[in-house]
Structure formats: structure tokens, C-alpha cells
Symmetry: C2
Subunit: 147 residues, 2 copies
């Protein structure tokens, strides 16, 4: 098993806005993809759609201002069964976000791509909280060609 790991520091005086960006449909649509639907509650499923396809995430844990966890229940074969965890803590003027997309079976080329792409989406989430505007799909940062 191999994992994609990231960390960003979001300039904000409490973790509430970051939590909101991760735990609400409107928040998620503000940095990941415009086309986000579903129920962000434990046991609920969120549907994230992008021009090339998408992911369905079951929400497995929601701890306000602390933690958001999902399990991938539909999407690309490599993603199904993997987990995505977001852990938040406050450090002075920054909310520190620790990210893990865990449980990849093999470090395939697509995993390399997703690692870079996740970094750009974390930066989009950081921008959303800090400035009010992220770069969700289809206005996302391109790391390769149509991606």
C-alpha cells in the first residue's frame, strides 16, 4: 500500500473556514469541482464530477474543525477502496492541513499524476479560504494535458 501525502498552511484565525471548505457541498464546490453534489454527513455519499469522469466518496468521519474522512466507493478502478483523510490543527495564524490519500495498491503512473494534481487542489482550497476564490474544475490548474 502506498499513500499520497500533502500539507498546506492556510492563513486564517481558526480552523472553521477550512473545515467548512472540506465538510460542506458549497465549500467543496469552491475549490475541487463546480459539479459537486450529495450529502456531506457520515454515511452520506458525495459525487464529484470532472470533464473526464469523477469520484463518489462515502463520508466516514466528520469532526468539526478537526477531521474529515472519505472512502472512495466509485470512480477510477485505482481509486475504489482508497481513503482520503484531512486533519486540521491551528498553529498561530495558520490552520495546518495534513492530507492523506491512502491505500493505493501500486505506485502506478496515475498515482504520480494524482499526487501532483492533489497538491494543486490543496492550493486551490487554501486560496478559497484566504481570498474567497479557489480554482475548482473546470478552471483548475493543468499539470499535464487534459487532466
Amino acid at each position: 500500500m502506498v499513500d499520497i501525502l500533502h500539507r498546506v498552511g492556510v492563513e486564517t484565525d481558526s480552523p472553521e473556514k477550512v473545515y467548512e471548505a472540506l465538510a460542506t457541498i458549497d465549500g467543496l464546490a469552491g475549490w475541487w469541482t463546480d459539479d459537486t453534489k450529495g450529502r456531506s454527513e457520515v454515511g452520506g455519499v458525495i459525487e464529484f464530477r470532472f470533464p473526464p469522469g469523477g469520484f463518489d466518496m462515502e463520508v466516514t468521519e466528520l469532526v468539526p474543525s478537526k477531521r474529515v474522512s472519505w472512502k472512495v466507493v466509485d470512480g477510477p478502478e485505482e481509486w475504489v477502496g482508497t481513503t482520503v483523510d484531512w486533519d486540521l490543527r491551528q498553529d498561530g495564524d495558520y490552520t495546518i492541513v495534513m492530507f492523506k490519500h491512502g491505500g493505493w495498491r501500486e505506485p502506478v503512473e496515475f498515482m504520480h499524476h494524482c499526487s501532483t494534481k492533489w497538491a494543486t487542489y490543496l492550493m486551490s482550497m487554501k486560496q478559497l479560504v484566504e481570498t474567497g476564490a479557489g480554482a475548482p474544475s473546470p478552471r483548475d490548474v493543468r499539470v499535464a494535458y487534459p487532466d
Copy 2:
């Protein structure tokens, strides 16, 4: 052992410019850090310096337009002994760059940070080749606070 993996696609008609960005001191200074010195030849050491510190990399492999490999011989404790590999291949109008910073002993918080930071530097390298201007330190993209 855990690895940081990334992949970008650089729009360019051959891998030569990407190789030059990775295998020459001027190229490296154009996207990673202004303060890059040393000898980019097998067995040579390249010194990368940033405001908070730096890394010394021994060049272990150089295959024109194909591969660049380094071994970290000095720097933060977590980095020493790790390896950095860049593999290039052409796919139509893009040079595909597969990146691996391998051999981390533990998935520590600093590794999470370095994973995100590497992604922003790979995007800086992509911009350098595509537009002629990257974002090397000290004009690098900040992913947290002084980083």
C-alpha cells in the same frame, strides 16, 4: 521506506529543454532556487540553497533527454541518504516527467510538506520550459508559512 511521487506534462516538442532544466546549473537555478552552485556531472555535487537552509546532491546518473538522478549527501536529517529521480519521455507535444523522491524512512510531517512543495517546484519547472520564466526560491510559491 516511503516515497514522494509526482508527474507533470511539459508542453515542448522534445525532452531536450526539460533535460536542460534538470541537468544544468542554469536550468536548475531557473525553477528551484536562484542559489544553485556546483557541478552537474556524474560524481559531482550540486549545492541548492534556500533562505532556511539547503541540500547538497551528488549526481548519480545523467542520461541526456531520459534521466537525471541525485543522492542527497547533506541537508536536513530526513533528506540525507534519500534519492531523487527524474524520468522523461516524449508523448506527442508533451514531455512527461515522472518524479520520485524516494527512501524516506518515515512519513513524517516534513515529508507531507516536501511533497506539496515539490509539486509547486515541478510546476515552476514546467513554467520555465513553457514560458521562459519559473518561480525559483526566493520567489517560490508558498504552501504554508516561511517554507
